[in-house]
């Protein structure tokens, strides 16, 4: 991590990695979509509706994973003053919010034919909705201050407090009775998910993860250019404070 603390070195490394993440995302998503929509069989109970899972489940995984990235970046920013941590956290948050919204939307579309309802207030669905609000609150709070440093600090505290929600989402299906089914992949006794459905699921997950990395790098690059141009503006105007 400390080797990446140097912004110039990070920019150079990010520029090298970026094309590879884009290529990997394109390959995995193309193969994953082909597997999910064409090759994989319909489910014995849900029929064709099962194909929604190939978008829904990776979106939900990424929604939680990206929140951990935001929280880890926030902790690193608050505690160790890592110069890139708040850039990473702020760059990741809108991507995470988008994946959370995607998980909620695809879940509703799947729930209507399968459960018979778009939405219920069970522990899993409600805690994921709270996750979406945490993302939106974080984004709003970070941008609510004239001084970016103060915004980053306030947002980081909110992001860290919201970490409590992640284990609640993960274990909600085990701790309480929920309409949402428990995890299929972490079960050891067969059958939970057949390999013909597991392959497209993992391909889609890998593709969306690479997509996240690519968008994260692009957003971090542009955020650092903004930061640099702001610093140059301050030098040119001969003032040290932020410009209104």
């Amino acid at each position: 991590m400390h080797a990446l603390a140097n912004p110039t070195r990070f920019m150079r490394l990010a520029g090298t990695i970026l094309p590879w993440t884009i290529a990997a995302a394109a390959v995995c998503l193309a193969a994953g979509l082909w597997q999910a929509l064409v090759v994989s069989p319909p489910d014995y109970q849900q029929g064709e509706t099962v194909r929604i899972m190939y978008v829904h489940v990776p979106s939900a995984w990424l929604a939680m994973f990206i929140y951990m990235v935001v929280a880890a970046g926030s902790a690193s920013f608050l505690i160790w003053k890592h110069p890139l941590a708040d850039v990473a956290a702020q760059a990741a948050a809108p991507i995470g919010a988008a994946f959370t919204a995607m998980a909620l939307a695809t879940g509703a579309i799947w729930g209507q034919p399968t459960w018979g309802t778009w939405w219920v207030w069970d522990a899993r669905l409600t805690s994921v909705l709270v996750l979406l609000f945490l993302y939106l609150g974080y984004i709003a709070l970070v941008n609510a201050f004239d001084d970016p440093e103060r915004g980053a600090r306030a947002g980081a505290v909110l992001a860290l407090a919201g970490v409590i929600n992640i284990p609640i989402i993960k274990f909600s299906v085990d701790w309480w009775n929920t309409l949402h089914q428990p995890a299929s992949l972490t079960r050891l006794d067969a059958p939970a998910i057949h390999s013909s459905m597991l392959v497209p699921l993992l391909l889609m997950a890998a593709g969306l993860f690479m997509y996240f990395l690519a968008v994260l790098i692009i957003r971090m690059q542009s955020a650092m250019l903004v930061r640099r141009s702001r610093a140059l503006g301050r030098v040119a105007c001969g003032t040290a404070g932020p410009q209104a």
Binding site: Y44, Q45, M53, L78, G116, L160, W175, T178
Partner: protein
């Protein structure tokens, strides 16, 4: 170095306190966080619950009468059962042996449901595999 450690302790202790508070709240809310009760939960309770209630379990084999209105079936958790009557359309997945959550008013031990939701389990497999597993006798789920 010292300030860094102080911040680390501050964040760590803050998170621990928050986790403790959240844990206490969730334990206190246990009965309101659960989405449904099992039939045996109802038996265990001293008095009948008032107001709307959700009951979840499996549709007992041989209990589903689809013909007339209301539709009748029994929800079981293999320890206790609750008789349900329901006016409305059932989700496609509903069949005997299927997981179900019915909500409505409990009148003299009979649930007059106004909503019936199918509960999907965590098994995903092609039809042929499900058939093969059932033939081999290693798994009895679905129907």
């Amino acid at each position: 170095m010292k300030a860094k450690h102080r911040r680390l302790t501050f964040v760590g202790v803050g998170l621990l306190l928050l986790a403790g508070a959240a844990g206490l709240v969730l334990v206190a809310l246990e009965d309101t966080v659960v989405f449904f009760f099992a039939p045996s939960d109802l038996q265990a309770q001293e008095r009948a619950p008032e107001g709307r209630i959700r009951i979840g379990g499996l549709i007992e084999q041989g209990s589903l009468e689809r013909g007339g209105t209301p539709i009748r079936f029994r929800i079981t958790d293999l320890k206790a059962t609750v008789q349900v009557s329901y006016r409305g359309l059932l989700p496609d997945l509903i069949r005997e042996g299927q997981g179900v959550v019915a909500s409505g008013l409990l009148v003299d031990g009979l649930l007059e449901a106004d909503e019936v939701l199918a509960k999907h389990d965590e098994n995903y497999m092609p039809k042929e595999v499900a058939d093969a597993l059932r033939r081999a006798g290693t798994w009895q789920g679905g129907s």
